[in-house]
């Protein structure tokens, strides 16, 4: 008969840890991961969730531009408090660099920064934390997979083959570290032009990838000039109705359904200190 738990530090039960942590990943750069991450965060917030957003692209952070802060992040001792923008709690390397200043740092330092974002930021109570992954399948992605207690990953792709190829590699990474893929979002799907839809990057790539990978297809986001303009100005697309607005809201709902449908999540992150017990 097992004795009671001793010294079990369950991070998710220790307070301040999110109920769900969602990775927004792709493997490929330039498919719109950060745009998707920002607007999913806004959509989930609009649906009543408490949302945090962690920008882990140390070398090319872009979230701050799209979500200008209402409150800057703070620091007290070795603890950080997140920035706040439109009710979303944010952390990004962008707060620690000038806008045009590059992060010229080697991987171990970048990993250290990521670990700080995971363990030393007081996020407060969150229903959902979104992690905007950097492109690739390397060191930082592995650190995040091992330390961030990720509930599931949402893959972002554009329809063309060259993007699908990299997304498959990223899906393989998540398979290796046993993080379930919640589904695939096809970004830059089609463009409304002269009353008809044109598909400059091809058609149906995201659906095909979902079918081949046996994962849900969460939806597509059209090429929307409004989305581009609003992102560049740091404004929310949810202030007015547009094709991408409804797409993000529908995708956010599907993600919530997927999270509910996940089988038991288990104990999550833990650290059990060994105790001396009677012989």
């Amino acid at each position: 008969m097992p004795l009671p738990m001793f010294g079990l530090k369950n991070e998710s039960a220790a307070g301040g840890k999110p109920v769900h942590t969602i990775a927004i990943a792709s493997g490929k750069g330039g498919v719109g991961k950060s745009t998707v991450a920002v607007n999913l965060a806004l959509a989930l917030k609009r649906q009543g969730l408490r949302v945090g957003l962690m920008d882990t692209d140390i070398y090319g952070p872009s979230i701050r531009k799209m979500l200008p802060e209402d409150r800057m992040p703070g620091q007290k001792g070795d603890r950080l408090s997140p920035a706040l923008s439109r009710g979303i709690r944010l952390m990004s390397m962008a707060y620690f660099r000038q806008e045009n200043e590059a992060s010229v740092i080697r991987a171990p330092i970048a990993n250290g920064v990521i670990s700080q974002f995971i363990h030393q930021v007081d996020w407060g109570e969150l229903d959902c934390q979104i992690i905007d992954f950097p492109p690739g399948t390397g060191d930082i992605q592995l650190t995040l997979a091992q330390q961030a207690n990720i509930t599931g990953a949402v893959m972002v792709t554009t329809p063309q083959e060259i993007a699908l190829m990299d997304v498959k590699k990223s899906m393989h990474l998540f398979d290796q570290v046993k993080i379930p893929v919640l589904g695939i979002i096809e970004n830059m799907s089609g463009l409304q032009s002269g009353g008809e839809t044109v598909y400059p990057f091809g058609k149906g790539g995201g659906k095909r990838l979902a079918r081949e990978g046996g994962v849900p297809y969460l939806g597509e986001i059209p090429i929307d000039p409004l989305l581009c303009q609003k992102s560049d100005r740091g404004e929310s697309i949810f202030e007015e109705e547009g094709p991408s607005t409804s797409a993000f809201l529908a995708i956010a709902e599907r993600i919530q359904e997927q999270l509910k449908g996940l089988s038991e999540l288990g104990v999550g992150a833990f650290e059990m200190q060994w105790q001396e017990m009677g012989e």
Binding site: L3, L8, N149, L265, G266, G268, F270, M272, W274, M277
Partner: protein
């Protein structure tokens, strides 16, 4: 994707712990048995897969300093013998200890 996750983990006595898996199966793990199977690069030759540590020399009374999760797929055990690099995947924990 691993079918199983850890639902509960408890220290059982000085030398072993138990895991209740999400499929309801409960398994006891003795630390000395785990160290004999340590998958770290010091204990297994990475290129040949040949075991470098001699399982017969593992102390049957070996204890842990801590047991911690690695993502959602494995645990890492810091043994009192000093070995702390092995990552034991959930799949291996289910495969070798039934």
């Amino acid at each position: 994707m691993s079918v199983y996750q850890i639902k509960e983990i408890k220290q059982k006595d000085n030398y072993s712990f138990s895991i209740l898996w999400t499929d309801g199966k409960a398994v006891d793990y003795r630390l000395s048995d785990l160290q004999k199977l340590c998958p770290c690069a010091n204990c297994v030759d990475e290129s040949t897969g040949e075991r470098k540590n001699n399982p017969d020399l593992v102390d049957e009374q070996v204890r842990a300093v801590k047991v911690q999760s690695v993502g959602r797929y494995a645990v890492r055990i810091t043994f009192t013998s000093g070995c702390s690099l092995g990552i034991y995947s959930f799949e291996d924990l289910r495969r070798y200890f039934t």
